[in-house]
């Protein structure tokens, strides 16, 4: 929706009048997008035609229902308010926002729309100051302005959200790098608000995994580790409170996605024979890094057989046509070793998948686009295609336990940001390293 609004604004700014048709449930989103770009008066026509509708009777009826409104919005002269909208007053939020007991703080934050539903740790001065020990940067340092709201991600705001999430101070360097990754990811704002409910997926590489006890093994994507869980949760709170992505206003995910709570793993570099993700992207093995991509679904596939060709067939036969031609492959260490020992590099696997993952034309949405009636429904077409001059849109990393499963995640390969550590890192790590669960055998 918002990108259609941006095109509307572009056309209006070229001094051409417009009317924009929007499915009635997306008007909030459209108005927020228009206002965020400073042209709140664009003329929207809410219509009742369901998204991606292909039923012509419904389209005819929907257009009939709003046709007079389309004409009215095309022809009615501009009002004074449309010509001179009210200016928004600058927000001057108090730094200390509330005082109360634990329950009152949680209730207050929830009612302000600052939580995702789970209880928070109150971000007091003391707690935030403790969180800030995880960085050398001053609290007012601006790490980035984050779309769509262009909220200022200062070190202090990151720390406040980190406290709320229950993060440890040693996670601050990861969160700061995560914010940088959000700012430099060209499509981060699209994925955050899309109807497809794409979730940020964070992969952490380098020595910091061990320093923070980040899980990259059994059940790595399940809850259970404070690092994986609260790094993801802090980034989700940052998305809400700094980026300004709120459900059904900006975030128009139709089904929603539990991965928006948190989706974090390390890469198991020790058991992999391949170059780790961050080294593939130009960093040194000794560097620590965080990679960001945006899947909207995650398929766990049990291997057809555990030889190299069985593993590869498991992949190519299970890529869903609607994964939009871009995937991440989460290879367990055992499967990755099998492939590597047979000479399969990450590049060779990508080439194999590109060449051999096919489907029928009528399994792809392109077949259903109106206008070209000559398509052969049974024409074999590739599921994964690189754009001209671009590398294969496949990301491969090693994570998960010792079992013969493969994770296939939709979404573009991500970007990687180096994690910068504070000067007193070793001392800090020593302080928090033993924060690990000990399970009692029963």
């Amino acid at each position: 929706m918002k990108y259609l609004v941006y095109d509307t604004i572009y056309i209006e700014n070229r001094n051409k009048p417009t009317v924009t048709l929007a499915y009635k449930y997306f008007i909030n989103d459209a108005e927020s997008a228009a206002s965020s770009r400073g042209l709140p008066g664009i003329r929207l026509v809410p219509e009742p035609i369901i998204s991606e509708c292909s039923v012509m009777e419904d389209i005819e009826a929907g257009v009939d229902e709003v046709f007079d409104n389309i004409i009215a919005k095309l022809t009615t002269p501009l009002t004074e308010e449309e010509k001179s909208p009210k200016q928004k007053e600058a927000e001057e939020p108090a730094r200390i926002i509330f005082k109360g007991d634990l329950e009152e703080v949680n209730r207050f934050f929830y009612q302000r729309g600052w939580m995702e539903g789970l209880p928070i740790i109150p971000p007091t001065e003391e707690a935030v100051a403790r969180m800030l020990t995880g960085t050398d940067l001053p609290p007012d340092h601006l790490v980035a302005r984050l779309e769509p709201r262009m909220g200022k991600a200062t070190v202090e705001k990151i720390a406040v959200n980190a406290v709320m999430a229950g993060a440890l101070p040693t996670y601050m360097p990861v969160l700061i790098a995560g914010v940088k990754a959000l700012a430099s990811s060209p499509m981060a704002d699209v994925w955050a608000v899309s109807t497809g409910a794409w979730a940020p997926f964070w992969i952490i590489n380098g020595p910091i995994r061990k320093d923070l006890n980040i899980n990259d093994g059994f059940g790595t994507l399940s809850p259970g580790e404070i690092a994986n869980t609260t790094i993801g949760r802090a980034m989700a709170l940052i998305t809400k409170n700094i980026r300004g992505v709120r459900k059904e206003i900006e975030d128009m995910g139709v089904l929603g996605n539990p991965a928006k709570y948190c989706l974090v793993t390390g890469e198991n570099e020790e058991d992999s024979l391949w170059e780790p993700l961050h080294v593939e992207r130009g960093l040194e093995k000794e560097d620590s890094a965080i990679s960001l991509s945006f899947p909207n679904c995650y398929l766990q596939v049990h291997s057809y057989s555990t030889d190299d060709m069985g593993l590869l067939r498991t992949i190519i036969y299970n890529i869903a046509p609607r994964m939009m031609g871009q995937i991440s492959l989460m290879m367990t260490p055992g499967n990755a070793r099998t492939l590597a020992n047979k000479g399969w590099t990450k590049e060779k696997i990508k080439a194999y998948v590109m060449e051999n993952a096919h489907t029928d034309m009528d399994h792809l949405p392109q077949y259903y686009m109106p206008g070209d009636e000559k398509k052969d429904p049974k024409q074999e077409v590739p599921l994964i295609m690189a754009r001209p001059g671009q590398p294969p849109p496949i990301q491969i990393f090693v994570a998960g336990g010792w079992g013969s499963w493969t994770g296939i995640l939709s979404g573009q390969p991500g970007i990687t940001e180096k994690i910068e550590l504070p000067a007193n890192w070793d001392k800090l790590v020593a302080k928090y390293r033993n924060v690990v669960p000990t399970y009692v055998r029963y």
Binding site: V19, T20, Q87, G100, V190, I242
Partner: protein
Amino acid sequence: MSGDSMQYEVLSPWAEADPVPMKGLTASRQTDLNGKKIGMFCNIKQASHRIAPVVERRLKERFPSAEFSYYRGKAFSVSEMEPQNIDNFNKWIDEVDTVILAVGD
């Protein structure tokens, strides 16, 4: 969480953002669509390619001398994601009298 009488003074997690200056619309609306060239903008949503022709047909019935010209975007946004097509887009905008955009989801 009840029964905890300890008081917490808490910091706001909500980020500051510089206010965006609000601008008004400047393009005068067409008071009569007869004889005007109406631009039909279709984005990458499938439905836009079905909705726009229906709107065109209805408008032709009401304004028989209106003309129509289509522009079909190839990415989420022409203005933000298709720099290679921006000159054609500008030319198309300049050649029409008003634009109907379809469709927002």
